[in-house]
Subunit: 250 residues, 2 copies
């Protein structure tokens, strides 16, 4: 039977979602928990990978499990065997034909920064320290240039191997909450490092280090050197994945 | 010359503010940074100790330093040598006769909880998971019983050695922010474990595990068994220390 799960994780000590030879992954951690709970080797397939150090408030994944677990109880069965850094928030029977990766329609990521003269150890784990003040309307103007269907080749780590670098961004919203600035990006899917490089480019624009022409040219030409710096992973969180249907019964 | 500093720290990996034989302390970490920066053995005296695992958004401490450092630059001079878990947010010349411990007038702590059917790894570091729903007006009613001058002997770990267990609580405020519940307690000073035991008693009251009579009796008799459970350190944060004057120049 196929199950669907909503999973939160603190990515700090993971090499990312996907199983890697060089460090602990969220995917392996879930597989280990399933093996402890059911004595079965289970593969968890997510909506998409998250990179090393990136957090998730609500990653969605599916798994085919032989053991007859009541769907809503799968979450607790796995949580018993998960470390503090991972938690299954909800579980359900997957709808017919559901695939967490292929059925995903929209993903929303948040990149969080905080503006403060000095570093704050209580914020560093989940957001990026910016010493100066951020002009959020300038950030928003740069963000608006990414909305729509574009070739995001310039916003993608060179080592990524994908068929196409064309993606659709549905919205980019910059908001302020006290000294925190959030960049929320919703799209059909994202390339490796794409949100972090978009956020870095928006920040450069707000600081006057790049302009509209360079951003437009980066989308036209795909030249990585025209895009801004890729920001550190710790500020990034996968906030939600939208499948166009209610997976976890309200 | 005496300096005053505002310090933030993530208490997770510290055995508390005060130098201890059994683990790293914030006080020692600051002393090590001062030794690296100035080659001097410096003692940092805080407004009060924080326990093992307790966080601080704005602890205040003073230090007498021989090196002639421009007061506002002391923060950065120390920050160069501090680990990610500690940051000096501000520094200034201490006013005449200032002592971070003896001059402190009011301290405000926040105990943070989140209500969710399942654990959230992105919140666990700084707040306590509560499975059920919290009745915050009941929490507030219990909290109001602590306001005023009372003997808080029942709210104090037995191993603490103090001259008097009488303290004044100025206010207890319970607020909700989404699934988070904050208990903010302001007082003249606090005993070892006092805020965590107050918050635990308020939670017990809201769950119907204790009543007004028991709470009143705990304050009358000083009997520890009448007070509620001491909640875990990780939900607690020293939010501010008030000296009745502006220490860091607005």
């Amino acid at each position: 039977m196929r199950y669907v799960l909503k999973v939160a994780y603190d990515g700090t000590d993971f090499c990312g979602w996907q199983i890697q030879p060089n460090g602990p992954s969220v995917q392996q951690t879930l597989a280990d928990a399933a093996f402890c709970a059911f004595g079965e080797r289970v593969t968890f397939t997510a909506s998409g990978r998250t990179d090393s150090g990136v957090h998730a408030a609500a990653q969605v994944c599916h798994a085919d499990i032989l053991a007859a677990v009541p769907p809503e109880r799968l979450a607790d069965a796995l949580n018993c065997h998960l470390p503090q850094s991972v938690s299954v928030l909800a579980s359900a029977a997957a709808p017919a034909g559901f695939d967490a990766n292929r059925s995903a329609k929209r993903k929303t990521y948040v990149y969080r920064m905080y503006c403060s003269p000095r570093r704050n150890p209580l914020k560093d784990r989940y957001s990026l320290h910016i010493k100066g003040v951020i002009d959020i309307s300038a950030m928003q103007r740069a963000g608006d240039m990414f909305v729509g269907e574009h070739d995001f080749k310039a916003y993608c780590a060179s080592r990524s191997q994908v068929k196409t670098t064309v993606r659709t961004v549905y919205f980019v919203r910059v908001s302020r909450d006290g000294e925190d600035v959030c960049v929320r990006v919703c799209g059909s899917g994202f390339l490796y490092n794409m949100v972090r490089t978009m956020a870095g480019t928006m920040l450069w624009y707000a600081c006057g280090k790049t302009d509209e022409n360079d951003i437009a040219a980066s989308l036209e030409s795909g030249s990585r050197s025209l895009a801004g710096k890729t920001l550190p992973a710790r500020g990034l969180m996968l906030e939600s994945v939208d499948y166009g249907l209610e997976l976890f019964g309200g």
